[in-house]
């Protein structure tokens, strides 16, 4: 180690990366500079397509399939990775530079035990023997506060939870004590409560070993907790870079300011519906089970016309199952669903066309919700044709009108395929398809969670506008409380298949809370860089894991 402790570890100069489209190469990263000192954590933020992950991988001297590093220098501890031979790069990766991927579940080999995968790196690089690295693994599991550190390594990846897997992944990259770790959205797929555990343990371990890290994310509040400095990227260009506190308090560029402002969208809460009004959808004491396993217990709530009810909870809390009961995909084992005061048949196959038309659904993953072999025009016109019997010019006119409503130019999008659209545009098509049936009630299942914040905000505003115009009732399933804050009128908090607490939003967001609601609320990261530290102190560093079991 010729450099001093706080010397420059990674020095990227004028990095240019090209991606292939068809036969041509187009530049996707346009000359980015980046300097990382030893022990320093830098946050890379930006929307999807900003080039965050591409730069992260380039820091390992790696370019994805269909990409190539076309210019610039990547100096890691004095070595230029763009000219280092492949064999030397291989020796470097895993031992001195490590990578933590977004989905730990997809990164672990499902047919090997955790500890076997953990010890592979140090053994391969000749750093330690199997016994030593096993001992080290258990020590790392302990430091990362995994439950049963002595035994957890001997389980298979599917036997531990998502948050634990992500921590095991972090332990694994630590096994060779790398100088640099690249975290690529490590908590994006996790619930807020789980996210905290992972964030806290990542931060501790990076501190303890004085490792430098690149932290890639699109969540500003998360990066505020983790990074010493933040670099904002937009379409392969650097927008600005500053110390975390300075960046949060006084962003200089307009783009950064717009990113910061996203979380401020909040529409005024509507007054509660009159007591004698008949709710559009009324869920009455439903219980449901998948096979023999009960998943819903006596759930009830009402949704009124023109109102949004947000159903909140961690994954596995039964919020999507409740939606499946309403749509009739999963007939409840007891209880009933009323629509406009009438009982709906439990199984969707027994409902008539009119009943099906009234309740529509928008899905989380627009990629799988739109048939990739159908043009946008076909996708939207089918419900119009099917339910309303429009044909020819009238049909085309109605579809154009729907496309206008979702703010997409009809002539431009009518003939395209879903694959030619961006994530946000696809989600808009999903909305148009639901609207095409002219429903009274729409279930929005995590509609914004796969989207960037700016795009998500656009979708929320659109849904809000449509609700105003068409007096729609929404059931909004989400685990993101920021979304709840911006769009909900009423909130239903669910946990392990039961409704924990329910009520109007203003009441729900004010104390006193049910302890679980409190846990959820306090787990939402805030833009304050001290938030995580304070929270951990408040909860006591030892029981953050157990806090989820109040």
């Amino acid at each position: 180690m010729q450099n001093s402790k706080h010397g420059v570890l990674l020095n990227i100069r004028d990095l240019r990366i090209e991606g292939r489209s068809g036969e041509d190469w187009t530049e996707i990263v346009h000359g980015v500079d980046l300097t990382l000192r030893r022990g320093e954590v830098m946050g890379l933020i930006g929307e999807s397509g900003a080039g965050k992950s591409t730069i992260g991988l380039a820091a390992m001297g790696y370019a994805r399939d269909g990409c190539r590093i076309s210019g610039g220098k990547i100096e890691f501890d004095g070595m230029d990775l763009t000219t280092t031979p492949q064999d030397d790069l291989r020796a470097l990766r895993g031992s001195r530079i490590a990578y933590v991927a977004q989905s730990a579940a997809a990164s672990f080999n499902p047919s090997h035990r955790l500890i076997d995968q953990h010890t592979e790196g140090p053994m391969l690089h000749g750093i330690s023997s199997r016994e030593e690295s096993e001992k080290d693994a258990i020590e790392l599991y302990r430091r990362l506060r995994l439950p049963n550190p002595d035994e957890i390594g001997f389980r298979y990846p599917h036997q531990v939870s998502g948050g634990q897997l992500q921590r095991a992944m972090t332990a694994m990259v630590m096994s060779c004590r790398p100088d640099l770790i690249i975290f690529d959205e490590p908590t994006t797929a996790l619930d807020v409560t789980t996210q905290i555990e992972v964030l806290a343990s990542i931060r501790d371990i990076v501190d303890q070993f004085d490792t430098a890290a690149l932290y890639i994310t699109h969540d500003l509040a998360v990066v505020a907790q983790m990074a010493d400095r933040i670099k904002v990227l937009l379409k392969g260009d650097e927008v600005e870079e500053a110390e975390t506190r300075e960046m949060l308090e006084s962003p200089k560029q307009d783009y950064t300011k717009s990113l910061w402002a996203v979380r401020s969208f909040e529409r005024p809460q509507k007054p509660p519906a009159p007591a004698d009004a008949v709710p559009v959808v009324s869920v009455k004491n439903i219980s449901a089970a998948y096979g023999e396993t009960p998943v819903l217990f006596d759930v009830s709530f009402d949704i009124h016309a023109g109102r949004t009810v947000a159903v909140v909870g961690e994954s596995g809390s039964g919020k999507s199952t409740a939606a499946r009961c309403i749509t009739g995909l999963l007939p409840p084992s007891s209880g009933e669903v009323m629509f406009d005061g009438e009982v709906l048949p439990a199984d969707f196959r027994n409902r008539n066309r009119e009943q099906l038309r009234q309740a529509q659904m928008i899905y989380q993953m627009a990629d799988t919700a739109l048939n990739p072999k159908k043009r946008i025009g076909e996708i939207i016109s089918r419900p119009v044709q099917f339910y309303l019997g429009l044909k020819g010019a009238a049909l085309k006119q109605r579809v154009d009108q729907l496309l206008d409503q979702i703010e997409l130019e009809p002539s431009q999008y009518y003939h395209r395929y879903p694959s030619e659209l961006s994530g946000g545009q696809k989600q808009r098509i999903g909305i148009a398809r639901a609207l095409a049936a002219e429903p009274k009630f729409i279930i929005c299942d995590e509609v914004t969670s796969a989207l960037d914040q700016l795009v998500a905000e656009g979708i929320l505003k659109l849904l809000d506008r449509l609700q105003e115009e068409l007096n729609l009732a929404y059931m909004f399933i989400t685990h993101d409380l920021a979304t709840v804050r911006s769009i909900a009128d009423e909130v239903v908090v669910m946990r392990q298949g039961k409704v924990v607490e329910a009520g109007p939003k203003d009441v729900m967001f004010k104390p006193p809370h049910h302890p679980y609601t409190d846990l959820l609320l306090s787990s939402v990261p805030e833009m304050d860089p001290d938030w995580l530290t304070n929270l951990l102190e408040e909860r006591g560093a030892d029981n953050i894991g157990e806090a989820a079991d109040v």
Binding site: G22, G66, L356, L370, N371, A437
Partner: protein
Amino acid sequence: MSYFVLVYYGLLIAASCVTAHYKMRSPFMMLFSLTIASAFFGLLGGEDWLWGITVCAALLAAAAGLAYSFREFLGMVLNPDASYAIRSAPLTASFGLLVVLVYVVAALFAPVIAPFGEAEVIGGAYAPPDDKMILGGDQLGRDLFSRLIYGARNTVGIAFLTTLIAFVSGTLLGLVAATVGGWVDQIMSRIVDTIMAIPQLVFALLLLTIFGANMTTLILVIGFLYTPLVFRLARAVAGNIVVMDYIEAAKLRGESTWYLITREILPNAAAPLVAEFGLRFCFVFLAIAALSFLGLGIQPPTADWGSMVRENATLISFGVITPLIPAAAIALLTVSINFVVDWMLHRASGLKE
């Protein structure tokens, strides 16, 4: 040492040097190994062998040139989308397309192209090739070339019909099984398992013996025997599609099973099914040739490549290539179709080079 040998080695060595100088790795390796191999073969078989190698190389070059021009031709006549797909296709694919096209033309216009009738006796038995019969005569003195052309119509036509039957029924049943699921799927799958448990050729022989060996039963029997294979593929492919949200959305809309199968699932399952169609076509083709060879397939005097091989098989002991010509026709079509299918599979799976 003749001029030919000198020119032969001179050209090979010069070409090797040029490719080596311009650092064209794979052409150089090919040319240089050919040079060394030629030295070996020259010592072993003399000038004749070198001529053989030259003819083979010339044929390969001609095929490559033909495939290249055909690809360029297609690229010019087709619309932009298809043209891009064709231009990025490997030469083997365009060669395969060309061969298939030639076979289709031969099959469609057989009476126009063939100089003689299918069952017309022209000369003596096993007549050698001459001006009248360019490939000679068969065991009854019929023109081999004309029978080859008519054979394309019968063999390829029947194989196509059979494959089509197997695919339409197999795909439909497979998609129904995957979409409806439950006990319908269970019953269909178990029936299919039962059929597949019986060896195919034995089963075919059995059924043909029971129902009589004519063209209609042949098509139906082979179509029936290949349905289970298609069923299994269609069911597996559809199994991955029916869990998609867009299928759920269509179900919740109240769409019928028929709409789900034809409009939502089939377009997404088409790519692997089409690729399988090509492969299965070859197998059916070979199965019919095998049955004809065994005497239970296409019946004389109808021309068919499989039976032509059998009827002329005795000539092999006399060192005459006549029986190999219909066999080569079968081989060429099989290889060509596989070239095309490989390319389509490659495109459908999104694999890179």
